[in-house]
Symmetry: C2
Subunit: 123 residues, 2 copies
DNA sequence: CTTGCATCTCACATTGATGTCAGGTTTTAG
DNA sequence: CTAAAACCTGACATCAATGTGAGATGCAAG
């Protein structure tokens, strides 16, 4: 498929797909005229990339993780594996922080609601 | 306390504290010479702001939430309350995504480890 | 063949929080 | 009183992903 279709099917902009390629995260074959062509597999790949972006990883970091996904049996993926475990931990920590923040919000919301209802009852 | 101490005690840079004030998130009293002075309470306030930043909220959004924290009994905090509930939900969704991503990473890590150990045993 | 839509490259703009530098003023310690 | 350290404002830099626009080319359908 061409880039437009991949964009449509992943929900990622054409611009971003080209950027991913520029960063070495995504590879395409070129038609005679120079247009990018992708396979079905690339959809999953883009989804994965997106997920990591959402998780706050930089394209540089994602690049370091890719060998682990592409060639798990490759010798030099040992460092990628270590890197991935490290990022997993970072993510875990981040999730914990977010849960804490959510608790804070819940506390504020509950307090505000109670206060509001109190006022309403009093009025 | 002055800005340097607040920075030291919150782990937020002096530059950022000034920026928070510029965005209306933080208020300071000024000494005769124009230097900012803060109270102990401001430490919690800055911590709260930081937490929301980490949760991905923009300073604009944080500003909309502040009335709910500062004056929960204020009439016009109803909209802030609603906004806060909305952000809480957004955060929940985000956390769910991150958990999903962490699962993906766990899967890849497990696969890579299994593969590596398989190779080692075979070798 | 022609017309129109998709794609190409290249380059510059944007956003948001923060860093950094410069030149001047305030505060504090000796 | 004086020197050092902290602070002030203002402006410009940065980073990373993405938007956007121009000008040129590829490709598919009539």
């Amino acid at each position: 498929m061409r880039i437009g279709e991949l964009a449509a099917r992943t929900g990622v902009s054409v611009r971003s797909l080209r950027y991913y390629e520029e960063q070495g995260l995504l590879v395409s074959t070129r038609s005679g005229g120079g247009q990018r062509h992708y396979t079905e597999d690339d959809i999953d790949r883009v989804d994965f990339i997106q997920r990591l972006y959402v998780a706050g990883l930089s394209s540089r970091t994602i690049m370091e993780l890719m060998p682990c996904r592409d060639a798990p049996s490759d010798e030099n993926s040992d460092s990628a594996l270590e890197r991935m475990a490290q990022e997993r931990d970072r993510l875990s920590t981040h999730i914990k922080e977010l849960l804490h923040t959510r608790d804070s919000l819940d506390g504020l919301i509950a307090a505000a609601r109670a206060d509001r209802d109190g006022r309403r009852t009093a009025a």
